[in-house]
């Protein structure tokens, strides 16, 4: 399977019959199918399954949410909201559209970014300092004030493999919840450049997480 975020359209037509999440982390496959089984049981209103699912995934989700929201109390609210949604919507989970991790963590990230944006809108955080600091530090910067202390964590992740220019845009979007145009404004770069860097950065991450994939940038 040679699909990725960066290949020209022509190459993308080569087979996508393999379940999407299978090639990503071959070593974790059994755990993933356990995750799927837990979601199915949750859809059948099995509270023990929810308990197990929570024990297995809540620390991952909470690490992510806290990193994005940067505020312990708000992060707790988001985590509860996310897991309540998971319980409510387990019946709609479709394995063809993503792994249990993607189902949960992308939801968690999305809710956390919503929370972060609403915090910014109500002016409860130091918007201006963040903007300035991020703009002044071209690489390896955090998207929100609470995140700075954990930059070493970021550098231990796959993000550290990226060139600074790519890491910066992906971090701003991934953890800072910034849009294309916000990133472009903040970094004072053309919109097209931002799009290209995002795409290239994700592409490289993808081939890192799925070493069997063919493409690198």
């Amino acid at each position: 399977m040679v699909l990725d975020c960066h290949l020209p359209a022509g190459l993308i037509e080569i087979g996508y019959s393999v379940p999407l999440w299978v090639p990503l982390m071959p070593g974790k496959l059994p755990e993933r199918s356990e995750g799927v089984a837990l979601i199915r049981r949750m859809a059948g209103r099995d509270r023990h399954a929810f308990s197990d699912f929570y024990d297995r995934y809540a620390p991952l989700a909470f690490g992510l949410i806290r990193r994005i929201v940067g505020n312990e109390a708000e992060a707790e609210d988001v985590l509860q909201e996310v897991f309540w949604q998971v319980w409510q919507e387990a019946g709609r989970y479709d394995i063809r559209r993503g792994s249990p991790e993607a189902w949960l963590l992308n939801r968690a990230r999305s809710r956390a970014i919503d929370k972060l944006r609403s915090i910014r809108r109500t002016g409860e955080t130091f918007v201006a300092p963040v903007d300035e600091r991020t703009a002044q530090q071209p690489a390896g910067t955090a998207a929100n004030p609470g995140a700075l202390a954990e930059d070493r964590d970021i550098l231990r992740t796959a993000l550290a493999l990226l060139p600074d220019s790519q890491r910066q845009v992906i971090e701003l979007a991934f953890l800072g919840g910034l849009t294309h145009s916000e990133i472009a404004r903040r970094l004072d770069q053309p919109l097209g450049t931002i799009k290209t860097r995002i795409r290239a950065g994700l592409e490289r991450l993808r081939s890192h997480f799925r070493p069997s994939g063919g493409a690198t940038s």
């Binding site: 699909l3 990725d4 975020c5 960066h6 359209a9 993308i12 037509e13 999407l20 999440w21 990503l24 982390m25 059948g44 209103r45 509270r47 929810f50 308990s51 929570y54 024990d55 809540a58 620390p59 991952l60 909470f62 690490g63 992510l64 990193r67 707790e76 985590l79 509860q80 897991f83 993503g98 991790e101 993607a102 963590l105 992308n106 968690a108 990230r109 999305s110 970014i113 954990e150 964590d153 970021i154 231990r156 992740t157 796959a158 993000l159 979007a173 991934f174 919840g177 849009t179 294309h180 145009s181 990133i183 799009k195 995002i198 795409r199 994700l202 592409e203 991450l205 993808r206 997480f209």
Partner: protein, 256 residues
């Protein structure tokens, strides 16, 4: 339209970095069923999830899980009894199935009972009607026998059956009772007919059959069209009887 402009956006869409028109256009493109872009978005979603999972996990405070479990328990408990998503072996389903089975058996049993009782009731009302008729007959006979002006006629056997004899209790107002013995069985298509004769004119008092022993009993209603009966006689007539006697006479006797 080429996919390239959309593919350019897929990674950003997965990141949630698209906004406004660009986002709407991309979502419309996905809704149109573009499998390629869907796959790319999904792949990017997996990459981002892996990136998220790469962050150091943080164990959330235990009270969060406790609160969620309470909330879930409150949601599921009230509806548990009749939750249609529960498996077939759920206790409430088994209980309901059992109750339905019992009810079905009860309905079958009761409808069988109703049918049986219906038949029994019809049989009994038939019996009751018979008994009523018999009681009315007996009452009429009693009235005949009790009345002081009831008279008796002794009928003797004539030529076709000399051994036969009969007796008639007759009351003008109440009617009468005729009994006979020793009569031969009526041949096929024939019947015995009792006649009341007054002033030489016979009037039919009814037809009757004889039992295996040659005996017969015939209650007779009052005959308003006739005056003082002088003679009672029995003839053999075609089945159903005739208005006037035509056949041979078997019994006859004067009213005393």
């Amino acid at each position: 339209m080429s996919h390239e402009p959309y593919l350019e956006l897929a990674a950003s869409y997965a990141l949630g970095a698209l906004e406004g028109d660009e986002r709407s256009r991309f979502e419309a493109h996905l809704r149109e069923g573009c499998r390629e872009c869907e796959v790319v978005v999904s792949e990017c979603g997996e990459t981002l999830a892996a990136l998220a999972a790469d962050l150091p996990p943080v164990t959330p405070p235990a009270r969060l899980k406790a609160a969620l479990m309470t909330r879930i328990g409150a949601e599921t408990r009230p509806s548990r009894a009749l939750d249609w998503r529960s498996p077939w072996w759920a206790p409430w389903r088994l209980t309901l199935a059992g109750a339905l089975a019992v009810a079905a058996v009860a309905v079958l049993y009761l409808s069988w009972q109703v049918t049986t009782l219906d038949r029994e009731l019809a049989r009994r009302s038939g019996e009751l009607a018979d008994l009523r008729a018999k009681v009315a007959e007996q009452q009429q006979l009693l009235a005949v026998l009790r009345a002081p002006d009831t008279r008796v006629a002794a009928l003797g056997g004539l030529k076709p059956s000399p051994a036969a004899h009969g007796r008639m209790w007759w009351n003008r107002e109440a009617g009468g009772l005729f009994v006979a013995a020793g009569l031969p069985a009526a041949p096929g298509g024939k019947t015995y007919q009792l006649w009341a004769i007054a002033g030489g004119k016979p009037v039919s008092a009814g037809i009757f059959a004889v039992d295996a022993g040659g005996g017969a009993t015939l209650p007779v209603k009052p005959l308003p069209s006739i005056g003082n009966v002088e003679v009672f006689a029995v003839t053999l007539e075609p089945a159903g009887g005739l208005p006037q006697p035509s056949g041979e006479m078997y019994l006859a006797g004067k009213v005393l």
